[in-house]
């Protein structure tokens, strides 16, 4: 009781000398050697040596206007205007942005999709791979340009399935284009009028998630290293395959094209959400060349649900499963790509996990 009574005589906590009103902005002169612009308790941006080429007055203040929702759901109170908007930063030494995002503001599972969105002067929004510290509620991202930015729960997250649940592909007929009016019906198409399947989606335009262009699965080895909850964020699909000659059975016997999936594989590692680039693992182009965007043609043959490409960047030959289905007046070609994710070990060879993608191309 005496101790309790004496507590009343104890001093109160000393206040920090820099408690700031977050509604007030900050302007700091930052030079090529680096610096920090802070707006505690919610925001800071750190410039490293070489991030800026010269001296620059950098401002940061809480954003009053609504942040565009194109990239996803903006976490309340996490939008900031950082200026001068449009100032480009060094690609080799980007600035590091940190925004306080209390985990209590997030729905279960949203932490995987949490990212920092940057509104560019043209109105487009870019998001970058981020790291989210769940213990401290701080999201960290590298930015390559100044401008309005906010923490958003991205709306193009693609959940990764279990490889055991991978649906089979049934093959199907890839038929040549109808012959031009007046021409011979049996004449094979030329390269100019071949059958072209293509798919394109990206975060800024047509979302890969909403379009359903890409679906992805991983095996247990990947989950053992990265956890059970995995998503692919910032997914970009760029695919085009042209079947430009057909045999007498009207089956394609040559093709040219490429298929590439890029994205950030997001995983929760204990108290941290982190990213891993996915790209090279699920990329293929035809022919022997090294230029994915200017590929060479290759001979192909079809056997059931398998399409054999004689020469590709992945292997010679490369057998790829496929499926063709009709949608309205068009055909959908689903291509299965398989890649390997390598994980280093402290000793011994790397652990190899498998990632499989289904990419749906439209004729």
């Amino acid at each position: 009781m005496l101790v309790t009574t004496l507590n009343g005589c104890q001093q109160s906590d000393q206040l920090l000398p820099f408690e700031l009103d977050p509604s007030q902005g900050q302007t700091v002169s930052v030079n090529a050697n680096g610096g920090i612009v802070g707006l505690p308790p919610g925001f800071s941006i750190e410039f490293f040596s070489g991030t800026l080429t010269g001296s620059q007055l950098v401002t940061a203040q809480q954003r009053l206007d609504a942040f565009p929702s194109a990239a996803g759901l903006v976490v309340p109170g996490t939008a900031y205007d950082v200026g001068p908007a449009g100032v480009a930063l060094s690609p080799s030494a980007p600035a590091r942005v940190q925004i306080a995002v209390p985990s209590a503001l997030l729905e279960a599972g949203d932490e995987l999709s949490l990212t920092v969105a940057l509104l560019q002067p043209g109105g487009s929004i870019v998001t970058d791979a981020t790291s989210y510290d769940l213990s401290n509620g701080i999201i960290t991202a590298d930015v390559y340009e100044l401008g309005p930015m906010a923490a958003v729960v991205a709306n193009d997250a693609i959940a990764l399935g279990d490889l055991a649940d991978l649906p089979p592909l049934d093959g199907g007929a890839i038929t040549p284009s109808p012959a031009p009016a007046g021409g011979p019906a049996s004449a094979p198409p030329t390269r100019l009028d071949g059958v072209v399947f293509s798919a394109n989606c990206s975060p800024g335009e047509r979302s890969c998630f909403t379009s359903g262009i890409a679906k992805i699965w991983v095996d247990d080895d990947v989950r053992a290293r990265l956890g059970s909850e995995l998503i692919l964020l910032n997914t970009t699909v760029d695919a085009s395959i042209e079947f430009f000659s057909f045999n007498l059975a009207s089956l394609p016997d040559s093709a040219i094209g490429h298929l590439r999936i890029d994205g950030d594989l997001r995983a929760r590692i204990n108290q941290v959400v982190a990213s891993r680039d996915v790209g090279d693992e699920v990329t293929v182009h035809t022919g022997n060349g090294t230029d994915a965007f200017n590929p060479d043609a290759t001979a192909i043959s079809i056997n059931g649900a398998e399409m054999r490409f004689e020469f590709t960047s992945q292997g010679d030959p490369e057998v790829i499963e496929f499926d063709v289905s009709g949608v309205g007046t068009s055909d959908l070609l689903t291509i299965q790509l398989e890649g390997t994710l390598e994980f280093e070990n402290a000793s011994g060879p790397p652990t190899e996990g498998t990632i499989v993608a289904h990419v749906r191309l439209r004729r």
Binding site: L16, P17, G38, I138, I269, Q271, A274, R276
Partner: protein, 474 residues
């Protein structure tokens, strides 16, 4: 032993000797008696224990003292020996060998999920000396602990460094087993951080009798703060592409401060050598720290040597303790240039950064050359500038045999902490040399019949050496 283990070992060595001292400070007599010693404290010891005793002892006394104490919570001494590669405590109780011993998952599996905590309290002189030897920044003033008491008046100067360090279980696993990408899901910084307070105190005490048996006393203390540092590590930024981790540590430092405290005491000689005693330290106090803060920030990279993502090598393997410390670069804090980690760390700096009121009450009996004391200590929950082991009940005995003084005692602290102590003193005329020490644990086998262990692991020790000149006492 990995470099991280070396870092931990060096940290323990530098801080722990500074840590291994003031467990039951002040005074070698008190340490030898398990933290009791207040009832019949005399001379310089009485200035901080109970100033009322100054009026009961008389004489004169000049004292110099060294000591340190440290307590690890959540881990056994054997575990520490294995993690740091020192050896097994139980097989070499008075001197660990430095042979590498195996540290595998079985060692860290039993550690508490909340991590391991190290609390230390050391004389500033020892800490400064240790830091100087290790070529590290000196944490505060190197003032030695000295005091003088003449009659009912005394003055003591003391410089102290107090630390609290918490390390997550997962980080200890990293120290123990080394970085393994296959275990990356297990790594967690958690509450890993530290807090260091360095200050010097000048305490003046005065005691007076009220009648034949009752004495009261007052102590006035001026506190000169040297530094107050709050540090923490943040969860790593993980690069899953290159399978590397980047850990950021931030320390915020107030580079000075000042304050005062008022102590009161009371002692009553009941009869036939029986005395009851009570004191209150910091019954009034104030501590203010400088507002010109300095932020120290450092980033460490864990990666696989030889890979493209590891051009500078794995910091967790390569860095020595000096490199580890020296990577912290200090910059004055200005309001508009705060990073979020710095701000978050700073928020903890001033929280309860003052001294709590400490109440002590005890009874003792003295006859001939024998003294027995039972002392209880209670610490106000407000104010965090105190030791983990301050709140306790201590029982101690002292026996004089010609020129020797033999002391023994034990203590039962809060949260299941137990301590056994002992000490010896040698008195040759006015010259008295006292040395005391003890160990702390969550339970001792021999005492388990009397005190049931609370299944909390502790590993701690303390040692104090004092040299006194005294004479003329009643």
């Amino acid at each position: 032993m990995t470099r991280w283990a070396a870092v931990g070992a060096a940290y323990a060595l530098v801080l722990a000797p500074g840590a291994l001292s003031a467990q039951f400070s002040p005074g070698a007599r008190s340490v030898g008696m398990g933290g009791a010693g207040m009832v019949f404290a005399s001379g310089v010891d009485a200035i901080e224990w109970n100033p009322a005793n100054l009026a009961l002892g008389g004489g004169w006394n000049v004292s110099g003292e060294f000591g340190a104490s440290g307590l690890l919570s959540g881990v056994t001494c054997d575990d520490v020996g294995a993690i740091l590669g020192f050896g097994q405590c139980d097989t070499k109780p008075w001197g660990w060998n430095f042979d590498d011993v195996g540290c595998d998952a079985s060692v860290t599996a039993g550690l508490p999920e909340s991590g391991v905590r190290l609390s230390t309290n050391s004389e500033g002189f020892l800490t400064a000396f240790g830091a100087d030897q290790a070529d590290l920044p000196k944490p505060g003033s190197p003032l030695p602990t000295i005091g003088v008491a003449i009659g009912s008046v005394g003055v003591r100067v003391r410089s102290r460094v107090m630390t609290e360090t918490t390390v997550s279980k997962e980080l200890l696993q990293l120290m123990c087993e080394g970085f393994d990408p296959a275990l990356i899901q297990q790594y967690r910084v958690g509450d890993t951080g530290f807090r260091t307070t360095s200050f010097s105190e000048i305490t003046a005490g005065y005691g007076t009798t009220l009648g034949d048996r009752l004495a009261v006393g007052i102590g006035l203390r001026y506190v000169m703060g040297h530094s107050l540092t709050q540090g923490r590590f943040f969860e790593p930024v993980l690069d899953l592409t290159n399978e590397s981790i980047e850990v950021t540590g931030v320390a915020i430092e107030a580079t000075g401060g000042s304050g005062y405290g008022v102590d009161v005491g009371l002692a009553l000689d009941v009869s036939s050598g029986l005395r009851v005693s009570a004191s209150a330290t910091n019954i009034i106090q104030k501590m203010s720290w400088e507002e010109d803060l300095v932020a120290h920030q450092a980033t460490y990279t864990g990666c696989i040597d030889g890979t493209a993502a590891c051009p500078g090598g794995d910091d967790f393997e390569q860095l020595g303790f000096e490199d580890f410390i020296n990577r912290f670069e200090g910059q004055p804090i200005s309001g508009g240039s705060l990073s979020l980690p710095v701000y978050r760390t700073a928020q903890e700096l001033f929280r309860a950064a003052y001294f709590p009121t400490v109440l002590r009450a005890g009874a003792g009996w003295r006859a001939g050359g024998t003294s027995v004391e039972l002392v209880g200590t209670s610490v106000s929950p407000r104010g965090r500038q105190h030791n983990d082991w301050d709140e306790r009940i201590s029982l101690g005995v002292e026996q004089f045999l010609w020129i020797l003084a033999l002391r023994a005692g034990g203590a039962l602290g809060s949260d299941g902490l137990q301590a056994i102590n002992g000490g010896v003193g040698l008195g040759l005329g006015p010259v008295h040399l006292d040395m005391s020490g003890g160990i702390m644990s969550g339970g001792f086998d021999f005492a388990s019949e009397f005190v049931t262990p609370e299944n909390v692991e502790y590993a701690g020790a303390q040692i104090t050496l004092s040299l006194q000149l005294k004479g003329g006492a009643r």
